[in-house]
Symmetry: C2
């Protein structure tokens, strides 16, 4: 058996974490041969609920779970970690402006970035799930100067999966036979789900669906899927968000499928003419705990215009929190 | 790839199912090489929430999930199924007597037994999780006369896991090194967690802990663990109950560990002098989709007295619903 790795999860008493933690402990994220130590982090008022989660983790007696700890001290929680899943974020409360939301989260992720820089393993891989995820990841990354930018990512996998699901529903082709879907940009309503290069059972997706369906159904449905699930469930996506985090980390660490892409929000350095130093989602491939942005994809005018919209939003978000970068 | 199997889940919009369904679709229950078709069952008022769960299942794009359907018609939901996880049950409402609770659930499980008998595969394997689980399973079994009694079980695995967890907490021996724990009887406060034959890293458990701890701490803690988790979390055990269902089915269908026992509530036929035709938990071993009650375990007077208490409760429960058997 391999030596255990340490995985930190913030917002550990919340709904996404309640799905996520048990998947990690099951071995679905890092493999059935990888023991894990969980370091669960919450804010003080949630420590009581987290205690209940610890009891349930004990009761599962997961073979791969070597130990668990819970803390409200991020310096303890991030100590010596190999992986961090930053799930906790301040939700938008009544009367709060978007700029207030950005700022209050920026402070949280600035502190977390500093703590990760100070106490995590230098090889730590970080996935930000808490919203606004892209800009939160940017802030954490900037506050962890000793850790490579390539080790900070934000989650776009849920949007990627949602695009696959809509294509399957529309065409009847099983999702396992759909490849090369991409979601670009920000994890927000400006994101751009792109099927221009997607293959359905080897056949070009654009030969199977109308462009009007892409523009008027697929894109808005994926962009607004979160709200539709809240409407149906009376609660926001938790299990599917958690599973998307599991997929993101699994592919990043253990490698993604050959001849396919996944979508990850990663630090820009000039690809596709996007402003540098944003956390922007691209199609990527992964191998050996590393991602590679798929370059050289031909982009039509429609796609380029969509990219600009979501880029502009990310630039505005960055400018609003620039004092913390 | 094997052909897909059909798995029905009742109470599919509830909290336990919300953890369970995504574990099944991940392949944790039946193996990473076993495609599944999910047949999700709810009562009409919960079909809207269930629609949200379906959306999230779509968005997970599970490689092993061949298809999903949702219905409020048990004859459609149980049609042609290989496995049934009966999670949904009427909870105790304010002012309801225990006998009313038994009766209202008895009607649900009587109807479900008849439907399973009529439309499921004859080889169907049934796990009852909804409480009172043992007696609910007894009723379902009696109403499915064409299906072998051995194919109906009720879940005691959560109690079994809770016993393992308490032993680990007390002794520091990792749960993967603890074997031959048993929980006997009813999934209720009369259950008997038994470590008389348990081994901690090969050493007799009774040489590692005091009998007073077993009687005054272990047994009441396991019996009342559910309430303690509600107290901490503000919600009942969902993830750990779901995982216990996954473990139960996984061991039952794919085989349990050599040299170890698990606890399953199964139909009695004279073992350990327990009244015949109850659904009573015993230590069992599993192989080839079948369980075998571990016989010949030496029982001391303390154990025999505990068995009688939980047996009496099950006899009373059976007598209260006898008209539906």
């Amino acid at each position: 058996m391999k030596p255990a790795v340490k995985v930190a999860v913030t917002g550990a008493a919340g709904n996404i974490a309640y799905s996520l933690i048990f998947q990690i402990a099951s071995g679905n994220m890092l493999g059935k041969d990888q023991p894990v130590i969980l370091q669960l982090i919450e804010i003080p008022p949630a420590m009581g609920v987290l205690q209940g989660v610890l009891m349930e983790l004990d009761d599962c007696a997961f073979p791969l779970l070597e130990s668990v700890m819970a803390t409200d001290d991020i310096h303890k929680g991030f100590e010596d970690i190999d992986y961090a899943l930053l799930v906790g974020a301040r939700p938008r409360s009544k009367g709060m402006e978007r700029s207030d939301l950005l700022l209050s989260n920026a402070e949280i992720f600035s502190a977390q970035g500093k703590a990760i820089n100070a106490v995590a393993k230098p090889s730590v891989h970080v996935l930000v799930i808490g919203n606004p995820a892209n800009t939160n990841a940017l802030i954490a990354m900037h506050n962890a100067p000793d850790i490579s930018c390539k080790q900070f990512t934000a989650m776009m996998r849920l949007d990627h999966q949602r695009t696959l699901a809509q294509l399957e529903i529309k065409t009847g082709v099983h999702h396992t036979k759909i490849t090369k879907v991409a979601v670009w940009g920000n994890h927000s309503a400006t994101q751009y789900p792109d099927i221009n290069h997607a293959l359905l059972d080897g056949k070009a997706a654009l030969d199977c669906v109308e462009q009007a369906w892409v523009e008027n159904a697929l894109i808005p449905t994926v962009q607004n899927r979160g709200a539709a699930i809240i409407e149906a469930r009376g609660a926001s996506s938790a299990a599917s968000a958690a599973l998307s985090g599991v997929y993101h980390m699994n592919d990043w660490i253990l490698g993604s499928h050959h001849n396919d892409w996944i979508s990850m929000a990663v630090c820009t350095s000039g690809q596709y003419d996007i402003e540098q130093d944003l956390i922007f989602s691209f199609p990527v491939t992964c191998d050996h705990e590393d991602y590679k942005i798929v370059e050289g994809i031909e982009m039509n005018d429609f796609s380029l215009a969509r990219l600009k919209i979501t880029e502009q939003e990310l630039i505005q978000e960055r400018d609003a929190v620039r004092h913390l970068l």
